[in-house]
C-alpha cells in the first residue's frame, strides 16, 4: 500500500523526465528551422513597414543609442574598478578613507538630468505625432471588437464584417490611405498588436480606444492579442493582410456579397440552422444571425480557423467542429455532438461559404 503510493509519483517523474529529454532533442531540431525561416513571418519591431511603427522605430533607436552609451561608460568604470582595486590577499593596512566629493557627486547628478531632459523632449514629440495624427478623408475606418478569443472587424463605411484576418489597403506616397481602427471589447481586456504596423493598444470594455496604421508594403503581417484575456489568450492570433489597392477593392466586393445558396449542400445547411450554431454565428442572407462568434458568411475567404489556431482546410474544419477543445482547450465554442454524416454535411455546407 505504502509502496504503491510512493511509486506513483516516481512513474510520473520518470515520464516527465522522458518527455523532457524528447522535448530537448526536438527543440534542437527547431533551432535550425527557426534560424532559417523567412523574415516576414517574424513580427520584428525593428522591421517596421508602416508610419507609426517607423516613428516608434526611430525613437527606439535613439533611446537605444543613449542607453547604450550610458551602459558603455558605467560598465567600463565598473570593470576598471574591479580589475584595478582588487586585492586577493588580506591587507595589512586599510585604504585611505574617502567619504565623498561634492564636485563629483554634483557632476553625476547634473549630467543624468540633462540626458533625461533630451530624451523626454524627443519622446514627447513622437507621442504627440502618433497620438494626434489627423485622420485624412481617404482613411479606411475599421471597428475592431475583441472577444474571448477572437477578433471581430467591422468596416462601417463599407458594410463588411470580417473576423481574425484584417484586410487593409496599402498606403501609397501620393494618395495616402491610412487605416484608423476603433478598438472595443465585448468581454475582457485585449490588446491589438501587430509589431511591424503599429504599437499595441488595448481593447477595454466600456471604452473606445483608437489606433492607426499606414503600411507602405503589401504582404501579410502577424500579430496577436497582447493583454491576457483568459484561458485561450495564447491562441487569439491576428493577421493583417496589406493588399494592393485593387486587391483590397476586390476583397471588399467579395465580402459584401450574401452567402451563396447551393442546393447540393442544403442538408448541411439545414443541420447548421437547426442546431445551436446559429446562436453564435451569422451567415448573411440566412436565419443565422448570432453575434457571439465570428461571422461565417465568407468563412472560406480566410486562411485560418479559430483565430489563427489552425489552417483553414476541410480536415481541420471538420476536426474543429467535432471538438473545438482539440485546437483551443478552454475556448467558448462547444462541441455540438454531431454524428459523422451530419459533420460531413455541415462541413460541406461551410465549405461553400466563400
Amino acid at each position: 500500500m505504502r509502496l504503491a503510493t510512493i511509486a506513483v509519483p516516481h512513474v510520473a517523474l520518470g515520464k516527465l523526465f522522458a518527455r523532457g529529454c524528447s522535448i530537448f532533442v526536438l527543440a534542437l531540431c527547431f533551432t535550425r528551422t527557426s534560424l532559417a525561416s523567412a523574415n516576414n513571418s517574424i513580427p520584428n519591431i525593428f522591421k517596421p513597414e508602416s508610419t507609426p511603427a517607423e516613428e516608434i522605430h526611430t525613437i527606439s533607436r535613439f533611446t537605444l543609442t543613449i542607453t547604450g552609451l550610458i551602459f558603455a561608460v558605467v560598465f567600463s568604470l565598473l570593470v576598471y574598478a574591479i580589475a584595478r582595486f582588487r586585492r586577493p590577499g588580506a591587507e595589512e593596512f586599510e585604504p585611505p578613507q574617502v567619504y565623498g566629493s561634492n564636485q563629483i557627486e554634483l557632476a553625476w547628478t547634473v549630467i543624468p538630468v540633462l540626458i533625461v531632459l533630451v530624451l523626454f523632449l524627443a519622446t514627447a514629440r513622437v507621442i504627440h505625432s502618433i497620438q494626434e495624427a489627423p485622420q485624412p478623408a481617404a482613411a479606411v475606418e475599421v471597428i475592431a471588437v475583441g472577444h474571448q478569443f477572437w477578433w471581430e472587424f467591422r468596416y462601417p463605411g463599407l458594410g463588411v464584417v470580417a473576423a481574425n484576418e484584417l484586410h487593409i489597403p496599402v498606403s501609397e506616397a501620393g494618395k495616402p490611405t491610412p487605416t484608423f481602427v476603433t478598438l472595443l471589447s465585448a468581454d475582457t481586456d485585449h490588446s491589438f498588436w501587430v509589431p511591424q504596423l503599429a504599437g499595441k493598444t488595448d481593447l477595454i470594455p466600456n471604452r473606445r480606444n483608437a489606433l492607426w496604421m499606414e503600411p507602405h508594403q503589401t504582404g501579410m503581417y502577424l500579430g496577436q492579442c497582447a493583454q491576457y484575456c483568459g484561458t485561450q489568450h495564447a491562441k487569439m492570433l491576428l493577421r493583417v493582410y496589406v493588399d494592393a489597392r485593387e486587391d483590397f477593392a476586390k476583397w471588399v466586393e467579395g465580402q459584401k456579397q450574401p452567402a451563396v445558396a447551393k442546393a447540393e449542400v442544403a442538408a448541411g445547411r439545414r443541420i447548421f440552422e437547426q442546431t445551436a450554431c446559429i446562436n453564435c454565428h451569422a451567415v448573411a442572407g440566412t436565419v443565422a444571425d448570432g453575434r457571439f462568434g465570428p461571422d461565417l458568411t465568407h468563412l472560406m475567404s480566410r486562411e485560418t480557423l479559430a483565430s489563427g489556431a489552425a489552417d483553414n482546410t476541410r480536415e481541420n474544419l471538420k476536426r474543429w467542429i467535432r471538438n473545438p477543445e482539440e485546437f483551443k482547450p478552454g475556448c467558448l465554442m462547444p462541441a455540438m455532438n454531431l454524428s459523422e454524416p451530419e459533420l460531413e454535411a455541415v462541413t460541406s455546407y461551410l465549405e461553400t461559404l466563400r
Binding site: G20, S60, A81, V98, E105
Partner: protein, 555 residues
C-alpha cells in the same frame, strides 16, 4: 570608546523536547526569531514559486508543447507572480529588516514586539490562504483551481462572469490578510527607527541600511492602502453586487488598473530599496572604505521614494491615455533614473581606491551592480512611451522586471544571506560552495533573462501558454529554459550550504568581516537582549572608531 557592549553568551538550549522548542518559536516575540521565521517562510515560498516558474519554462521550451494544460499554465503564472512578490520578496526583506534594524541601532527589540509577531503570522496565514485555493477554488466539487487571473488581476477577468468559483476570492483574501501584516511590519519599522536609536545615533549617523528601511517602511504604509481598498472593492463587486470594476454593469476596468499600479509601482521600490540597503552595507566593508557620499545616498533614496508615487501609469501606456498623460508619466519615470544613477555611481565611488575582497557577499553585490545597471537602462527604454507601445506586455517586459527582481533584488539578498549568516547562525558558510552557487546562478540568470528580451522584440506576448512555430522565438525560449536549470542547481547548493553550515560550519566569532556597524559588536548569534549594555555611538561606523582610534570616522 563608546561601544563596549560586551554581550554575554546565550544560554545553550540543549535537551529541550521538540514540542517545547516549537512552542518557543511559535510564541516568540523576539525580533531576531521573527526575522528568521520571515526568512524561512519566504524561502519555502521561494522554492514553490521557483517550481511554478520551472513548470512554465518546461511548457515553453518548444512551440505547441503539451506539458501542461492552458488552464494550469495560467494558474502557474498567476501563482508565481503573486507568490514571489507577496510571499517571497516582501517577507524576506521584512525578515532581514526585523533581524538587523534593532541590532544596527543598538536597541533590544522592535518598538512593538507583539505587533511584530502578529504581522508575521498574518503574512504566513495570507500565504496559506492563497495556496488553499488549490483545494478549495471551486468549492469541494472541483479540486485544483488556483486563481488564473494574472498577478495584477485586471478587471473584468476577476468579475463573477469571467471568474466563476472562488479562486479569485482566495487571491483577494490572501493579499488582504498579508497586506494587513505588511502594514503592521511597516508601522513597527518606522516606530523602531524613529524612537529606539541608541544614544548618539542621530539621523545623520544611522547606518544606510536603517535609513533605507525607514524609507521602505514609510512607503509600505502608503502603497498597501490602495491595494487593500481595491481588494475590498473587488470583494464588494463579487459578493454584494457592486459595480466598481464590473464592466458588464457599467464599471471601469481602467479604475482597477489605477488602483493596482499606484500600489504596484511603488511596490517595486519597496522591494528594491532594502536591496540597495544590503549593497550599501556590504560594498563598503569589502572595499574597506566608507560609503561614498552618504548624505546624497540618503537624499537619493528619499527622492526615489517620493517620485515613485508619480510613475504608476507607465504600466498603462497602452490603455489609451491622452498624449499629455502619456508624456507626463514618461517624464516622471525617466526622472527616477537620476537618483538611481547617483546610487550606482556612489557604489562605484565606494569601490574606487578601495581594497576589494571578492568574498561571496561582495561577488553577489558586484553582479547586482552590473545587472541593476542593465535593468535600469531597459527601464529607460520602457519609459519612452512610443517604445513602450511595442515592448509593453511582451517578453521584453518580463525580462526587464526579472532583471530587477532577480538580477538586482535576489542577488543582493543572496549577498545579504552570506554576509549576515555568520551573525544569525554563529557559523561560517562554506566559501567554496558559496562561490559555486554564485557562478551557477550568474550563468543561469544570464542564460534565462538576457535571452528573454529577444522574443519580446520579435513580438512574443507574455502570459501565453504556447506559441506558434516559425516566428523566430524557438531558439530563444530553449535557451531561456536551459538557464532555469542552472539557477535551480545554484539555489539547491545555496540551501544545502546554509543547512550544512548550521551544524558543520566553522565558528564565526563576533565580527568575521572586520566590519563597522553595531551588530558585529555583539555575539553571534546575539543573545535575546542583543546588548548587555546599550551602546553609545559618536559616528556612522562605531566599530571603525574602536579599531582605528588614530583615524576616527569623520561623521
Amino acid at each position: 570608546m563608546s561601544t563596549e557592549s560586551i554581550a554575554l553568551t546565550g544560554v545553550q538550549e540543549t535537551g529541550r523536547p521538540l514540542s517545547s522548542v516549537l512552542q518557543s518559536w511559535i510564541t516568540t516575540v523576539d525580533h531576531k526569531r521573527l526575522g528568521i521565521l520571515y526568512i524561512v517562510l519566504a524561502l519555502v515560498f521561494l522554492v514553490i514559486g521557483g517550481l511554478e516558474a520551472t513548470i512554465m519554462r518546461i511548457q515553453l521550451i518548444v512551440p505547441h508543447n503539451h506539458f501542461v494544460s492552458p488552464q494550469f499554465f495560467n494558474q502557474m503564472f498567476t501563482m508565481h507572480g503573486t507568490t514571489m512578490i507577496f510571499f517571497v520578496a516582501m517577507p524576506i526583506l521584512f525578515g532581514f529588516g526585523n533581524y538587523l534594524i534593532p541590532l544596527m541601532i543598538g536597541a533590544r527589540d522592535m518598538a512593538f514586539p507583539r505587533v511584530n509577531a502578529w504581522s508575521f503570522w498574518l503574512t504566513a496565514f495570507g500565504g496559506m490562504l492563497l495556496y488553499l485555493s488549490f483545494v478549495g477554488g471551486y468549492g469541494l466539487y472541483g479540486a485544483g483551481a488556483a486563481p488564473d487571473v494574472g498577478w495584477f488581476a485586471y478587471a473584468p477577468l476577476t468579475a463573477r462572469t469571467f471568474s466563476v468559483g472562488h479562486s479569485t476570492d482566495f487571491w483577494i483574501l490572501g493579499l488582504l490578510v498579508s497586506g494587513i501584516g505588511s502594514i503592521g511590519a511597516a508601522v513597527n519599522f518606522v516606530a523602531t527607527i524613529l524612537c529606539m536609536r541608541c544614544p548618539g545615533m542621530t539621523f545623520g549617523k544611522m547606518p544606510l541600511l536603517v535609513w533605507l528601511n525607514l524609507v521602505m517602511g514609510a512607503m509600505v504604509l502608503f502603497v498597501i492602502s490602495p491595494l487593500t481598498a481595491a481588494q475590498i472593492m473587488l470583494s464588494i463587486d463579487r459578493f454584494l453586487g457592486g459595480h466598481f470594476f464590473d464592466t458588464q454593469a457599467g464599471g471601469s476596468a481602467v479604475l482597477w488598473m489605477h488602483f493596482f499600479w499606484i500600489f504596484g509601482h511603488p511596490e517595486v521600490y519597496v522591494l528594491v530599496i532594502p536591496a540597495f540597503a544590503f549593497v550599501s552595507e556590504i560594498i563598503p566593508v569589502f572595499s574597506r572604505k566608507p560609503i561614498f557620499g552618504y548624505p546624497v545616498m540618503v537624499a537619493a533614496t528619499v527622492g526615489i521614494g517620493f517620485v515613485s508615487f508619480s510613475v504608476w501609469a507607465h504600466h498603462m501606456f497602452t490603455v489609451g491615455m491622452n498624449s499629455y498623460a502619456n508624456s507626463f508619466f514618461a517624464l516622471t519615470t525617466m526622472v527616477v533614473g537620476v537618483p538611481t544613477g547617483i546610487k550606482i555611481f556612489n557604489w562605484i565611488g565606494t569601490m574606487w581606491g578601495g581594497h576589494l575582497q571578492f568574498k561571496a557577499p561582495m561577488l553577489f553585490c558586484i553582479a547586482f551592480l552590473f545587472q541593476f545597471l542593465i535593468a535600469g537602462l531597459t527601464g529607460i527604454m520602457l519609459a519612452c512611451t512610443p517604445f513602450n507601445w511595442q515592448l509593453s506586455g511582451s517578453y521584453f517586459v518580463v525580462a526587464h522586471f526579472h532583471y530587477v527582481i532577480v538580477g538586482a533584488i535576489l542577488f543582493a539578498l543572496f549577498g545579504a544571506f552570506y554576509y549576515w549568516y555568520p551573525k544569525m547562525s554563529g557559523r561560517m558558510y562554506n566559501p567554496t560552495l558559496g562561490k559555486l552557487h554564485f557562478w551557477l546562478f550568474v550563468i543561469g540568470f544570464h542564460l534565462t533573462f538576457d535571452f528573454m528580451h529577444i522574443p519580446g522584440l520579435l513580438g512574443m506576448p507574455r502570459r501565453i501558454y504556447t506559441y506558434e512555430p516559425g516566428r523566430g522565438w524557438e531558439v530563444w525560449n530553449l535557451i531561456v529554459t536551459i538557464g532555469v536549470f542552472f539557477q535551480a542547481c545554484g539555489v539547491l547548493i545555496f540551501v544545502g550550504n546554509l543547512l550544512w553550515s548550521l551544524f558543520a560550519g566553522k565558528l564565526a566569532g563576533n565580527d568575521p568581516w572586520d566590519a563597522w556597524t553595531l551588530e558585529w559588536s555583539t555575539s553571534s548569534p546575539p543573545p535575546e537582549y542583543n546588548f548587555a549594555q546599550i551602546p553609545t555611538v559618536s559616528s556612522r561606523r562605531p566599530l571603525w572608531d574602536l579599531k582605528h582610534p588614530e583615524d576616527p570616522d569623520v561623521d
